[in-house]
């Protein structure tokens, strides 16, 4: 049963991502955070397997969160899920070892990340 953290400042985005992931992995357990700081405190208290992270959030971006998680929780697999599909953003995500999921997610791309298979 994978534990998946969804980080997005939009409740609607979290809701819709959760629906999609539930269809892919019905046994998934979800944690949600609306900001980078909230995500960090969630991760400090609970072990998670995967994190799907928005880019543009108030105060800190999803890439800043990923940088932190790379050292504080190196075993967690990370994906950046954003409509900001700029080459520069995708490259920064890849440099941090993150998967990139354009928003709104395509089911095949999301499935590849959740199941750990090649996209």
């Amino acid at each position: 049963m994978p534990v998946i953290l969804i980080v997005d400042d939009s409740r609607v985005a979290r809701l819709s991502l959760r629906r999609m992931v539930s269809a892919i992995a019905p046994d998934a357990e979800f944690l949600e955070a609306g900001s980078v700081d909230e995500a960090l405190s969630v991760v400090a208290g609970t072990a998670i397997d995967l994190a799907v992270i928005d880019y543009n959030m108030p105060e800190k971006t999803g890439l800043e969160l990923a940088e932190d998680l790379r050292t504080s929780a190196p075993s967690v697999r990370l994906a950046l899920c954003t409509a900001n599909i700029q080459d520069a953003v995708i490259e920064r995500a890849r440099n941090l070892g993150m998967a990139f999921i354009p928003k709104p997610p395509d089911t095949a791309v999301l499935t590849a990340f959740i199941t750990g298979s090649a996209p």
């Binding site: 985005a13 819709s16 599909i85 700029q86």
Partner: protein, 219 residues
Amino acid sequence: MTMILTADEQDVVTELMNMGVGRAAGAFSRLVNDEVILSVPEVAFVGIAEAQRVFDASIPDVLAGVRQSFDGFIAGAAALLFPEERSLELVRAIIGEDMPAEEISELEQETLAEIGNIILNNCLATIANALHSEISSSLPETYTGDKQGFLSFLCDPPPEARMSAEPPLDGSSSVLLLVQIDFSLRRRAIQGFLAFAIDLRSAASFRAKINEYLEALSG
């Protein structure tokens, strides 16, 4: 401050908008699971008064909209607009038909913000990629009101939303690059509008990028 583009430059702007909006339409189509039909973008440089006339003639009286300001090689604001009475239907299309009515209406503003975020970012990012440049955008802000108020909402974002320290467009010296695109959903009879107001203080760098793009095409 004015910006007169050559015919080739104007073509590039229209083509970039086509690419950006095409990509955004693909994203929107996935989001609502419906086909999105687009008009050809209309690109025009207008003053504030002319922009108001364009809005008066072409957009609904009462609007639900989302705007994001952007900054980088090009600065300005982009907005996505829907007729207000259709916005709940749109919310239902996205978060599911099975949600109770009160929950749908509670999530209305947030859903609009997220739709705006997805459409506007897909569009802006595609344009930035085509020009090998970078752009940063603010968080989405929603608007509900009449079309008279909308133009000032588009051009004069609240201070906390502004990304640069420059004063807002005040209409006295500003010319807007107004790009208008109409789109509709095939199955749901929902129409929307996209408008971009480009701050011509960034005209020089935008124009330089357009010309690099033109040179790459002919080279």
